[in-house]
């Protein structure tokens, strides 16, 4: 009944069509444009847990990365393993074609899952039209599809999906959804996010700070957050994910908690590389994905979303992501296209993007009532800016795929050449 009603909603139908098209495009790209999925830098090490634990039985195996990404790949790995055992048992080594393809498929799966949750969250905040529009812009204007395909073995597309689910669940809780299962799931999601990338523990701030800017809501919120009725399932859910990681660390290192990034540190704590993270032509977030500028502008419009209840959490998460990335010794995060750590917080950035869209729509309506000429100018200006950002993103991605733009460190002349190639051909 509910499904039938949902299907009657034209925006839900459009989301389905959009996701089906996006998944088809990504699948075609994976088949014809990606040589392999396992074996991209960190991605190979995440995946190696599955080989060592499940195929070799080596439970003392230890890598600096936690096990959350491997856990997200587990169902796809098991399906590939079962199929390989049926088709060609001799190739059941964890690296043959079916295993590789399974990792690629997992990326598309987590993209679709994350986008469904993000759509639902944005729909609660801004309505269907903006929710759908933001998801389309994220697809066309950012490197997210690349992280769902070529870099599917990395952690980021998984975190995107989980943080979108975490965002949606927090909004539901803020709207009165209670119960053991809901709060257990919230803890589970956060625990999973943490065992994918430990530093992302600060995502909990969205839940903790939800509503602190609203004096009426604040007291009630904190009373509920720290009540046993919520904390107990939260902790149980979190431990369900974190405890296995701690046990595996204990087996491998002798300690339940360890700092696995030995020899690496936040070298730039006092002088973070914020300009480089945002604007360098090697990796700059806003150079490679300029559409995110709208999301940064949207941080000032968050009152538009949910009466501003999520403002503190989202602003803190964006600032902490920026600071921790810029303070890390390897702020450029290695040899992968673009500033990848920000993929993890895309759902939160999407909320601020939606807030900007809503704010702009209100301003344009007001302008239309008072000055039709300026309304037209502003409308064309902002729509053109968004379209130009999508165009730049596609041009740079194309340049990267063709080898014009370096994945490790792009240069201004490579970016320029990528644009020229799009114009010329």
């Amino acid at each position: 009944m509910v499904t039938q009603e949902r299907w009657k909603n034209k925006y839900d139908r459009r989301l389905f069509l959009f996701l089906a098209s996006a998944a088809a495009v990504m699948l075609i790209y994976e088949i014809f444009g990606v040589e392999h999925f396992i074996g991209y830098y960190d991605g190979e090490l995440y995946y190696s847990y599955l080989i060592e634990y499940l195929l070799k039985g080596n439970w003392t195996y230890f890598e600096k990365y936690p096990i959350g990404t491997a856990l997200a790949e587990l169902p796809f790995f098991l399906a590939a393993h079962a199929l390989t055992l049926i088709v060609d048992p001799a190739a059941a080594d964890g690296y043959s074609a079916l295993y590789d393809g399974a990792v690629g498929i997992s990326g598309i799966f987590y993209y679709v899952l994350g986008t469904v949750f993000l759509y639902r969250a944005l729909k609660l905040l801004f309505g269907e039209k903006i929710a759908l529009g933001i998801n389309v812009l994220v697809f066309l204007g950012t490197a997210l599809p690349l992280y769902a395909t070529k870099y599917a073995s990395f952690s980021h597309i998984k975190t995107y999906a989980l943080s979108a689910a975490f965002l949606y669940l927090t909004l539901l809780i803020g709207r009165g959804r209670e119960g053991f299962r809901t709060h257990f799931l919230l803890g589970l999601l956060l625990g999973w996010i943490v065992i994918i990338r430990n530093i992302n523990v600060f995502f909990v701030l969205f839940y903790l700070c939800y509503g602190i800017t609203d004096p009426k809501y604040r007291r009630e919120h904190f009373r509920r957050v720290f009540s046993a009725r919520r904390l107990l399932p939260n902790i149980l859910g979190g431990l369900t994910m974190v405890l296995p990681q701690m046990i595996l660390w204990k087996i491998a290192t002798g300690h339940f908690i360890c700092y696995s990034y030995e020899g690496e540190s936040f070298s730039y704590l006092t002088h973070p590389k914020i300009f480089e993270v945002l604007f360098s032509d090697a990796k700059g977030l806003l150079i490679f994905m300029p559409i995110l500028l709208f999301c940064f502008l949207g941080l000032f419009c968050l009152r538009q979303a949910d009466g501003g209840r999520g403002t503190a959490g989202i602003v803190l998460i964006v600032l902490l992501e920026l600071y921790t990335t810029a303070a890390w010794w390897c702020w450029w995060l290695g040899g992968v296209y673009g500033m990848r750590s920000f993929i993890d917080i895309f759902p939160f950035l999407a909320v601020s993007g939606g807030a900007f869209w809503l704010w702009l729509r209100e301003r344009l309506k007001e302008l239309r009532n008072s000055d039709g000429g300026w309304y037209a100018v502003c409308l064309v200006f902002f729509v053109s800016a968004a379209a130009a950002c999508c165009f730049l993103n596609v041009a740079f991605l194309k340049g990267m795929q063709e080898g014009t733009v370096s994945e490790t460190f792009a240069t201004w002349w490579q970016l320029q050449q990528a644009l020229r190639q799009v114009f010329l051909f």
């Binding site: 480089e276 702009l360 009532n369 008072s370 502003c378 800016a385 370096s406 490790t408 460190f409």
Partner: protein
């Protein structure tokens, strides 16, 4: 559906909202100008890492060093040498002594590489741990004024098709 405040003032734009709309437009225009200038190379920090000169046993395909940030640099693109010889090398000279921790080479290099560093006017071979995916980690941080990457005399395959070389220094050291 939307429980948020619309901040709409009954159809008329307030001065505050007008100012905010103008500010948002200027941010976008400013960013567009910045972006355009950036793609013209206005902020090219190629020299910051301190590479004075890049030389090689061949002169094909040499391009300038690049830098964005101050603790790493990448070099060149698509240096393909048609008839590789055992004497082929790449030589990076720095403006002053630099501390290096590891080198990552993207592309194809001879099957065995050797690294030599020049410090206090003397050349010495730099030992490194087993390379993995083009990443050569030195056994200890080295201070060099020049760095030479050459094919080992034991190398069987001599093909060079280097797309990119990335130097990793000690970040704290580079700040000094």
């Amino acid at each position: 559906m939307n429980s948020g405040k619309r901040l709409c003032s009954g159809g008329k734009m307030t001065k505050k909202n007008k100012a905010a709309l103008i500010a948002a437009s200027f941010v976008l225009i400013g960013f567009s100008v910045f972006f355009f200038l950036k793609l013209q190379g206005i902020w090219d920090f190629s020299g910051r890492f301190g590479i004075r000169e890049i030389a090689s046993s061949r002169d094909v395909g040499m391009e300038q060093a690049l830098i964005d940030g101050d603790e790493l640099t990448s070099w060149g693109s698509y240096n393909y040498w048609e008839k590789p010889q055992k004497e082929d090398y790449l030589l990076f000279s720095f403006r002053k002594e630099r501390r290096l921790r590891q080198i990552e080479i993207d592309g194809i290099t001879p099957s065995l590489l050797v690294f030599f560093g020049k410090s206090d006017g003397k050349w010495s071979r730099i030992p490194f741990s087993q390379p993995r995916r083009g990443c050569y980690v030195f056994e200890r941080d080295v201070r060099v004024t020049d760095l030479k990457i050459a094919a080992s005399s034991d190398a069987r395959e001599l093909k060079w098709d280097v797309k990119e070389i990335t130097f990793y220094g000690d970040a704290r050291e580079m700040e000094k």
